[in-house]
Amino acid sequence: MLRKLAIVVPVATFASLAAAEDADRIIHDAEYYVLEVIHGDMWEVEDEDLDTRLAELRELHGRPPNIIHVMWDDTPLGELGIPELQKIRGFETPAINQFAAEGINFMRMYTEPSCTPSRAAAMTGRHAVRNGMYNVGFPYEYGGLAADEVTVAEVLSEAGYATGFFGKSHLGDVESSYLSNQGFDEAIWTPYNQVPSLYVPQGQLAALSAGTLFPEMFGEDPYDIDPSWRPTGYVWALEGTKGGPVREFGTPPFDHGGYMALEDQFQDAAFDFIRRQAEADAPFFVAWWPQLTSFLGFPDRVTASGGFIQEALVRLDDRVAELDTLLEELGVEDNTLVVLMADNGPMVHNGPPGFVETLYAGGKGDYTEGGVRVPAMARWPGVIEPSQVVGDIIHITDLFTTFARLGGALDAIPRDRIIDGVDQTSLLLNGDTYSRRDYVTIYTGPILAALVKGRYKRHLVGAQPGLSGPEFYDLYNDPREDGGQMLPMFPAKGMFNQMKLRHQLWATRYPNTGQNRDLPFLGLEDPRPEVAAAGQFRVAPDRLPFDPYQFLQLQPEWENIDRRWSTAGN
C-alpha cells in the first residue's frame, strides 16, 4: 500500500516538504511543518523569549532544571486532579489534586493506547510504530527496544545530566532494552508489566487458569507431555549501572510478598538517587514509573470505592506527597520540573475488576479517546503558573523534545529519523493555547487507527472502503464518540485524507524499523539457573529440522537493527 502510493505520487511532494529540511533541524512528522509554516514566525519570537527566560533560570540556579517524570498505568482522564469526580468515584488523592492546583492540569494529554508503546514513546520521542515497540510484552517477549534508539536519558546524559530510572519499564526482555544500556546511569526496572504478579501460586488460585504456570499444583495430567514451555525463568526486576553489570533485583519470583515489596524499593532507590544528585553538581533526570499495583490487588481496602485502580491511586497519592516533602527538604523544588501522568486509559478489556471508563469511551488498546487520553500534570514552582487548566493537545512524545530543550540538550536529538515529539516549552511556560501541535496520529499496534485534528477526529478503522461513513467526530460536542457523523463533518474529509497521506509518505522517506528480537535475559551477571535457561532455546536448535531463530524474527517486513543471531552463524 505504502510502496504503491510512493510510486504514484510524484517525488515533487517530497521536494516541497523537504524545503523545511535542514541537517541541523530535528525531523518532525509532516503535519508539524504545516503548522510551522503558519505559525513559524510567531514561534521564533516566542522561542527567543523562552531562551532568555531559561537562561535566566539557569543563571539563578547554576544549572538547568532537574526533571522528574512520574508515570503509572491505566488511569483515565478525569480520575485525578478533579476532586468533584473523585467524590463520584468514592476515593480521594489530596496530594495529587494539590499538585494539579499548583501547576498545569492538562486536559488533552495523548498517549499511545497501551503500556509498552506509551513507554517507548516517552523514552524515544517517537510513535511506537516507528521502532516496532507497539506490542505489549509478556514473559517471554523475546524482544525490546533496539540499541540504536536514542532515549531521553541518552539525550540528557549528553548535556551532563545524571539519569536514573526506577520502576516499571516494560520495554522488553532483550539485552538492548536494559535501561542501563539505554542511557541511564542508575536503573532498577521491570522488563514486563504487572501481569507477572499473577505468576505466583496465589495467582493460580485467583486469576490464572489451572496449571498454566504451575502444573504441579493440580492433579497430574498424563497427556501433558511437554511441560518445558512454561516461562518460569522470568524475572520481576533488573538493576544495573551505565557500563556496569546487570543483575536480577529483589527476590526471585513466586513469593508474592517480594513483588509487593518492589514498589517501596523503587521509591527508596529513586529518592536516594534524588538525594544524592541534589547535592552533586549536575542536574538530574529521574523517570520514576511506579508499578501501582499487583494484579492480585491490595489485601486491605481503604476507599469507599474499593475498586482496583482507585485503591492503587490513593496509595500512589501518599508516594507523591512523600516526593513533595523530599523536594522541599532538599530545597530543589524551584529548580525541578515534575510531570505526573498515566501511560494510557484503563484496562477495560479483559482486565482485573475495577478498571472502568471515566469521561471518555474505551480504554487500553482502544483508539477512542478513553484509550489515549490520560491525566497529566506539570509543576515547576515559579516557572509554571499555578492553577492552570490547559485545553491544548500535547502528546507523550512531546515530553522527550521538551525535556531536551529544557536541559539544553536539543543538539543530542538524532537528526536521521522522525521525532514525533514537538517542543512544548512554550506551552509549559506560557500556558493555555501555546501548544505547537493540533494533531495526533493514533495507532493500535501497527495500524493507523484514527486521526485527531483539533476538535475533530476521524476513525480510520472500520471506515467504509471507497466511501465515507459516519466516521467523523466532534470531540467537544461528542467527547465519548457516541455518534459518528458524516454529512455535518464532510468538509473535514479532505483535510484528514491529506493528513494521513502526508504522514504515510513521510514515513516512506524515514522508514519504520523493528524492535530488537533476541533471547531474553542475556548478559546478566550471575543469573539463576532458570533465568539462564530462559536465554537458551529449550531444545538444541541443531536437532530441529527448522531454524528456531527464524521464529524470533516474526516482523520480517522491517529491518531489525541489531539481531544477535545475524552473527550467530545462521
Binding site: 469526580l85 467524590k87 468515584r89 485545553g391 460536542n477 467527547p479
Partner: protein, 555 residues
C-alpha cells in the same frame, strides 16, 4: 411497622387543623429504618441545627434567610463548576465556576429523569407518582398539579416569605396548577415548555428541528386537529396570587418565532433582576425562583454565534446563561443580600441526548440522559450557597433527592411546621449534613427511581439495581456499583444479587406496602387555560379542538 404508621396517621388526623409542631412528617418506609438506627444522633443534630439557625436569625434582624432557587434545564453532571470539564467540552461557565467556589456541591443529588417530575418533586417534596405527575406534557393536555398539593412556596408563604416565580414551570396547563395559584405572589411563566417554544414553532420547522408537522403538502390529511400549532397555544402568562392571569406579548394572529423565544428569555432575566430588587427592598424575607428555559434553544435562526469553541446550540446558550447568572450574583452583592440569602443552583435532569451532539452536550461521566434512569438521567450539578452557614468550596457526597430540598429549605426558613402532616412527604430533612458538611448526618441512603409511573431502579448507598421489566425473571436484573462503574457498564449482578437481591426487592416491597396506607392519587384535570383573561381566538379554537378529542372517548 404498619401499626406505627397507622398510629401516626391517626395523630395527624386529630391534629391536622392545629399547628403541626411536634407531629412528625410522614416519610417513606426506608427513612424509618435509618431513623431506628440514628434517632439519638439525629435528635442531637436537630438541636445543633436549630442553634445554628437561631444564631443566623439573630444576626439577620430576627429574619430567616432569603432563598433564590435556580433550576437549569437538562444539565447533566460536570457541566457547571468544573473548569477542567469546561476545557474538555470547549466552553466556559466562569460565573458559575466562581459561584461553585463559594458554594457546597451536592455531589450525589438525584433528580427525577425529566423536567415535570423533577419540578414537581422539588415543589411538593413528594415523588411525582404520588399525584400522577410523572409524565412530561408537551402540547395542550388538560391536566396538572392539583391545587391541594402544598408547594414549597406555600410553605414559605406561611412562614412569612414574599414569593416570586420567573420562568419555566411545566406542571400543567390548567389554572390550579400554575405558580400564581400555587403559592407565588407574582408569577411570569410559559404555560408549556420548549417543545412549543423552540422545537416546533415556524422557524424550527423551517430548520427541520421538527418534521411532519407543516413541512409538506397536506393533500392527504383528514384530521386537521391532529397537529399542534405552537403559535395557537398559550405562550407566557403573568399574574399575581388571587389576581387576573393574562397572556403577555402575543397579539391575536401573531406567530411565535425564534425571536419571540429570545425576547421571552431576556424578559425573564430582566424580571428576575427587577423582582430581586423589589424583594430585597421589602421587610419580609423572600423566596425567588428563577427557572430559565435556556440553555435549550434549538434553532440557528437569529443567532450570530457560535459563541464558544464547542459551538453547540445549548453549549453556547449555557454561556449566555452563565453571563446572566453572573449579573444576578453581582446584583445580590450590590443589594447587600449575598450574605443572608441561600442560593440553590442545579440542573433538573440529565442531558437532552435527543439533541446530541448538535446541542454541544453528550453524557460524559454517567451513562444516559433525560428520560433514562441510569445515573446520567438523574444525577446533575447541584450547588447550595449560604455564606457563613454552609462550607465554601465544599462537597457533600450524601445521597440527596431533589424532594429533600423541599423539607430542608423549609427547615432553613423556620417553616417546617407548615409542611403538611396529612400525606406522605418523600423529602427528608438534610439540614444537618448540609450545614455541618458531614455525610454521616445524611438522612437518606436510597432512591426509588421512577420512570413516569413505574419504578425502574433502586439506589442503595453505592449499589444500584436496574429493576427487571414486567414478566422478566429477577435473576436477570442488573446490579451496579456506582462508585466503581459510573457508566453502569459492568454488572455485578450475581456478586451482589446473591446476598442482596432479596433485600433490594424488600425495599420496593416496603415502598409499595406504604402506598396502601398513603395511596397515589391522580393529577388534576380541567379545561385548559381556563381563567386566562385574554385568550386569542386561535387559542380558543385550539382548546375546542382538544375538548373534541377528549370527549371522543365518551361517544
Amino acid at each position: 411497622m404498619l401499626d406505627r404508621a397507622a398510629v401516626a396517621t391517626a395523630i395527624v388526623m386529630i391534629s391536622a387543623a392545629a399547628a403541626a409542631q411536634n407531629v412528625p412528617i410522614i416519610h417513606d418506609a426506608e427513612y424509618y429504618i435509618l431513623e431506628a438506627q440514628h434517632a439519638d444522633a439525629w435528635a442531637e443534630d436537630d438541636v445543633a441545627v436549630e442553634e445554628a439557625l437561631d444564631a443566623f436569625r439573630e444576626r439577620n434582624g430576627g429574619k430567616p434567610p432569603n432563598i433564590i432557587n435556580i433550576l437549569v434545564d437538562d444539565m447533566g453532571f460536570g457541566d457547571m463548576g468544573i473548569p477542567e470539564l469546561n476545557a474538555v467540552r470547549g466552553y466556559a461557565t466562569p460565573n458559575i465556576n466562581a459561584f461553585s467556589d463559594e458554594a457546597m456541591r451536592m455531589v450525589r443529588m438525584y433528580t427525577e429523569p425529566s423536567c415535570t417530575p423533577t419540578r414537581v418533586a422539588q415543589m411538593t417534596g413528594r415523588l411525582p407518582v404520588r399525584m400522577g405527575m410523572g409524565d412530561t406534557a408537551v402540547d395542550i393536555a388538560g391536566f396538572g398539579l392539583p391545587g391541594d398539593e402544598v408547594t414549597l412556596a406555600e410553605v414559605l408563604k406561611e412562614g412569612g416569605y414574599n414569593t416570586v416565580h420567573i420562568g419555566k414551570w411545566h406542571m400543567g396547563d390548567i389554572a390550579e396548577s400554575w405558580a400564581m395559584n400555587q403559592g407565588f405572589d407574582f408569577t411570569a411563566m410559559p404555560v408549556h415548555q420548549q417543545g412549543q417554544l423552540t422545537i416546533f414553532h415556524d422557524d424550527a420547522i423551517r430548520e427541520q428541528v421538527a418534521v411532519g408537522i407543516s413541512d409538506f403538502d397536506p393533500e392527504y390529511t383528514l384530521d386537521d386537529l391532529f397537529r399542534p400549532d405552537a403559535s395557537a397555544m398559550v405562550t407566557v402568562i403573568e399574574g399575581r396570587a388571587g389576581g387576573p392571569v393574562r397572556e403577555v406579548r402575543m397579539a391575536p394572529g401573531e406567530r411565535w418565532t425564534a425571536a419571540k423565544y429570545d425576547e421571552m428569555n431576556q424578559t425573564f432575566q430582566d424580571q428576575t433582576l427587577e423582582s430581586l430588587r423589589e424583594l430585597a427592598a421589602r421587610e419580609e424575607p423572600f423566596f425567588l425562583q428563577y427557572w430559565p428555559l435556556l440553555p435549550l434553544d434549538n434553532t440557528r435562526a437569529g443567532r450570530d454565534g457560535p459563541e464558544s469553541p464547542n459551538g453547540g446550540l445549548y453549549a453556547d446558550k449555557m454561556q449566555q446563561l452563565d453571563a446572566w447568572f453572573g449579573e444576578l450574583f453581582a446584583e445580590m452583592e450590590t443589594l447587600g443580600i449575598a450574605e443572608n440569602t441561600i442560593v440553590v443552583l442545579m440542573g433538573d435532569n440529565g442531558h437532552f441526548t435527543k439533541y446530541s451532539p448538535q446541542s454541544g452536550f453528550t453524557p460524559m461521566i454517567f451513562r444516559g440522559g433525560k428520560g433514562d434512569t441510569t445515573e446520567g438521567g438523574i444525577r446533575v450539578d447541584a450547588f447550595i450557597r449560604w455564606p457563613g452557614m454552609i462550607g465554601e468550596d465544599a462537597m457533600l457526597n450524601s445521597i440527596i433527592h431533589v424532594s429533600d430540598l423541599y423539607t430542608t429549605l423549609a427547615r432553613f426558613a423556620g417553616a417546617l411546621d407548615h409542611v403538611p402532616r396529612d400525606r406522605l412527604v418523600d423529602g427528608v430533612d438534610q439540614s444537618a449534613s448540609i450545614l455541618f458538611a458531614d455525610e454521616s448526618k445524611g438522612r437518606r441512603d436510597s432512591i426509588i427511581v421512577y420512570s413516569v409511573a413505574t419504578p425502574r431502579a433502586l439506589v442503595k448507598d453505592k449499589l444500584k439495581l436496574n429493576l427487571p421489566g414486567p414478566g422478566q425473571s429477577a435473576i436477570l436484573a442488573d446490579f451496579f456499583d456506582v462508585f466503581r462503574d459510573t457508566h453502569e457498564k459492568y454488572p455485578v449482578s450475581t456478586e451482589v444479587g446473591a446476598w442482596g437481591g432479596q433485600e433490594f426487592v424488600r425495599i420496593l416491597g416496603r415502598h409499595k406496602a406504604r402506598k396502601e396506607l398513603y395511596p397515589d392519587t391522580p393529577p388534576a384535570t380541567g379545561r385548559p387555560y381556563e381563567g386566562i383573561e385574554n385568550l386569542r381566538p386561535e387559542t380558543e379554537a385550539a382548546v375546542e379542538a382538544f375538548l373534541v378529542k377528549r370527549s371522543a372517548v365518551e361517544r
